[in-house]
């Protein structure tokens, strides 16, 4: 068998991070090569896919392989008075894994084992570093899959999905990550290990599982995840409807939902991105459409056929110029390839993008979209829209070239106005990417002081010292008053 590859280890020297006594403790707990201290390596863990630089940097990076090792890392960090940050693949778009200050960064990319699959109960235990798409591929043997399918699913980890409560095109009907996690083993911020939730349906106590999912690493580190598995549908229909106006496309979305149809996925792309995608991958998208809708229906065959026919009828009634129904799997794959290549197509228009992720009520899509275009125009920026129309989850992409002087200011100003427009329409800050560092400052626009205080209390219960991923999600000062201590046992 192959000899195990080990990374070289820098010996502790006077001026290096390796000299920190914390490092010695960590090296005792983990194999020494899985505790990294070289400057360059530490710098690389200073960013994630958001590109946000918080001015912080990893004090040391740990790559544990087991729950016990994660717990040991957390305990060592705490013993040396350091905060810690969990990190998966670093595909997060809100800066959740970006270090602030000099925390210990605990990376789960070596925790990649699928521990147990129970096809009968439709549940699997996995380590947090398992990649979303790897899991679904692994499950193909049993004709099952993991339903949340973020566009980054090839690269993002289940732990990251749990922490961000990630969604994807197919979450319209099947729900986001929270609905697909039944239990979690976590290392709490004090270094203890516990299981939240259970494999039985009504475990006793508060739904701490539910509270942990979406907590962006601020309540602890998930070390094992019991995910719910979904059977692959026996029938699938994918349609592409081509519209001469965004209004018609949006009206179709509302009409489909109002008709009692909840498609597996319902995605919209505007004119500019449709043309760009077509130029890029040649999926047969109409280059001159003002908007296209990609609709996927799946389930039992008769229902799928009936709903597909109804969607075609509704789209046509709302002015669709053409509706293309994929004839086979190959054509289906091609239509999806268009949608999934949107990011790549965008990169070919301009090198950089800034992606917002607000959600607005479905009925106000058109109005908010119109405002998004106006905002971009006012700031002299290119904007394209490709988004989860079914659940009102907008993804306006502001395109720019960061080498143009002053452009970042315009991008940020436009972004702020887009967020404001979404909130004014009764929407929320983030549909799936989370708050992290990026939207922390906007939290008080969505929540009042009492609301933020309540969230801060949850964090305080899990992490009284604020050691887990500090300075994320909640703006400073979210916790209002000091706690009165409850008398022990007063309520039990």
């Amino acid at each position: 068998m192959a000899q195990r590859y080990r990374e070289p280890v820098t010996p502790p020297g006077p001026s290096t991070a390796a000299a920190d006594p914390l490092v010695a403790d960590l090296r005792r707990a983990l194999a020494p090569d899985r505790v990294r201290t070289e400057d360059l390596e530490l710098a690389l863990y200073g960013r994630d896919a958001s590109g946000i630089d918080a001015g912080g940097r990893a004090a040391v990076v740990c790559l544990p392989e087991t729950t016990e090792e994660v717990a040991a890392c957390v305990r060592a960090a705490r013993a040396h008075g350091r905060p810690f940050v969990a990190r998966g693949a670093g595909t997060g778009l809100a800066g959740g894994a970006v270090p602030v200050g000099e925390p210990v960064v605990i990376v789960t990319t070596r925790m990649t084992r699928i521990l147990e699959v129970d096809p009968d109960e439709r549940v699997a235990w996995v380590q947090p570093g398992v990649l979303n798409l790897d899991l679904t591929r692994h499950l193909a043997t049993w004709d099952l899959h993991f339903a949340p399918d973020p566009s980054s699913q090839q690269a993002c980890t289940i732990g990251g999905n749990v922490a961000n409560n990630s969604g994807g095109p197919h979450c319209l009907r099947d729900g986001v990550t929270s609905a697909h996690v039944v239990a979690l083993e976590v290392v709490l911020p004090d270094g203890s290990v516990t299981v939240l939730g259970a494999l039985d349906p009504e475990p006793g106590g508060y739904d701490l599982r539910g509270a942990f999912v979406g907590s962006e690493g601020c309540l602890g580190i998930a070390t094992r995840v019991a995910v719910r598995l979904t059977p692959n549908p026996p029938a699938v229909r994918t349609l592409l409807a081509d519209f001469a106006s965004v209004e018609d496309a949006a009206a179709t979305v509302s009409a489909v939902i109002a008709a009692g149809i909840v498609p597996a996925a319902l995605e919209m792309m505007d004119a500019r991105i449709t043309a760009a995608v077509e130029d890029y991958v040649g999926a047969g998208y109409p280059r001159d459409a003002a908007a296209v809708l990609l609709v996927e229906l799946d389930g039992l065959p008769a229902g799928v056929e009936a709903h597909a026919a109804e969607v075609v009828r509704l789209a046509t009634a709302h002015g669709a110029r053409a509706v293309r129904v994929a004839a086979d799997d190959a054509e289906r794959a091609l239509l999806w390839k268009g949608r999934k290549s949107a990011f790549g197509a965008v990169a070919r228009i301009l090198p950089d993008y800034y992606l917002h992720d607000t959600v607005v009520p479905r009925t106000r899509l058109v109005e908010v979209l119109r405002r998004v275009y106006q905002i971009a125009e006012r700031h002299d920026l290119v904007v394209v829209n490709v988004f989860h129309a079914g659940d009102g989850n907008l993804h306006p992409l502001l395109l720019f070239d960061r080498r143009v002087p002053g452009v970042m200011d315009r991008v940020h100003a436009a972004g702020e106005e887009i967020v404001a427009a979404s909130l004014e329409a009764g929407g929320v800050l983030s549909g799936e990417h989370g708050i992290g560092l990026e939207k922390k400052a906007y939290m008080d626009r969505l929540f009042g002081p009492d609301d933020l205080d309540a969230q801060a209390r949850l964090r305080e219960a899990f992490d009284p010292d604020g050691a887990a991923n500090p300075d994320k999600v909640l703006p400073a000062g979210a916790r209002c008053g000091d706690l009165q201590r409850a008398p022990e046992g007063a309520w039990i």
């Binding site: 601020c218 008769a302 929540f447 009492d450 309540a454």
Partner: protein, 309 residues
């Protein structure tokens, strides 16, 4: 509509124990509230229902039956499925957090709560979550509130996710059909109940699919003679409620717990004999701290507790 959120908050006030009353249909879950505690009622009424949003904003004191009737007009429903919908309130069902027997098809109650406005122990109206079907803005307090028995805050108004009513729905009763085989083979079953001998199946969806799946039931049951269409589920024993891993149901034998009806694929077992409450999931100390940060003086629903073991 009765009452306002601020009115409810004022009624709850900042001090002294209070208990919130819904329909008293699950009054003893988590222990009956302490006696002589002031009772309050959440406001009632449907605030907004926009069918194309697949959401409804409703006051917590509304009965499930009233909400269901309003949604039915638009061919929609909520996955709140209590045994006594005429009396049970929306807030009460969410606070207790128990899903109905259609959980297999409709998902657990905990997934449907999108936004909650509750009155905190300090007597203030607090918002958790948001009104849209997708939202990851901040910590998910909604999940924590579902099943919290009103011990962290008193639900005043909620936004819940609704879904279309199925085009067809059919209960079948199949004597001797292996419920676990049905669980494996049916994709459109919203409920599979089993008492150790007889199996009941609720099929929902497009009529043709319901027919096709009915044929599956017939084949698993070993012939049409063994299968009958029935009006609804069997009466559920009300002595106790067990939570078991779905696979553990295989070990149940007729007459266990003095008679039972098990939700196959879910793991809830309704028993005739009383059963002990489920053990606590997660550390007791963490539960204590959560209660302590949200209700430092223990004034919300004293006597009731999610920590039963």
């Amino acid at each position: 509509m009765t009452g306002t959120l601020d009115g409810f908050a004022a009624e709850v006030g900042p001090a002294e124990p209070v208990t919130v009353v819904g329909g008293r249909t699950q009054w003893s879950v988590g222990g009956a509230p302490a006696e002589d505690v002031r009772e309050v009622r959440a406001p009632a009424g449907i605030v907004a229902h926009e069918p194309a949003e697949l959401t409804v904003r409703v006051r917590a004191g509304t009965t499930v039956a009233e909400l269901d009737a309003a949604l039915a007009e638009h061919g929609q429903m909520v996955p709140l499925d209590p045994p006594d919908p005429e009396r049970a309130t929306v807030g009460g069902v969410l606070a207790v957090g128990r899903s109905g027997i259609r959980r297999l098809g409709r998902g657990p109650v905990r997934d449907c709560l999108l936004e909650a406005r509750y009155v905190s122990a300090e007597g203030r109206v607090v918002k958790a979550g948001g009104p849209t079907v997708k939202n990851v803005s901040g910590f998910d307090l909604c999940r924590l509130l579902v099943g919290s028995l009103g011990t962290l805050g008193l639900l005043a108004e909620v936004v819940v996710r609704v879904s279309p009513r199925p085009a067809a729905s059919r209960w079948l009763q199949a004597a001797g059909a292996d419920p676990f085989a049905l669980r494996r083979r049916l994709l459109g079953a919203s409920s599979i109940l089993w008492d150790g001998a007889t199996t009941w199946v609720l099929l929902e969806g497009h009529p043709a699919d319901v027919d096709a799946e009915s044929a599956v039931v017939t084949s698993v049951a070993g012939g049409a003679a063994a299968v009958a269409e029935v009006a609804g589920p069997p009466p559920l024993p009300a002595g106790g409620r067990l939570s078991a891993r779905p696979s553990a149901l295989r070990d149940l034998r007729t007459g266990d717990h003095a008679g039972f009806v098990a939700e196959v694929g879910v793991g809830v077992v309704h028993t005739t004999a009383p059963v002990p409450p489920p053990p606590l999931a997660g550390p007791r100390e963490l539960h204590r701290r959560i209660k302590a940060v949200f209700d430092p003086t223990g004034r919300l629903n004293p006597g009731r507790s999610v920590v039963t073991a």
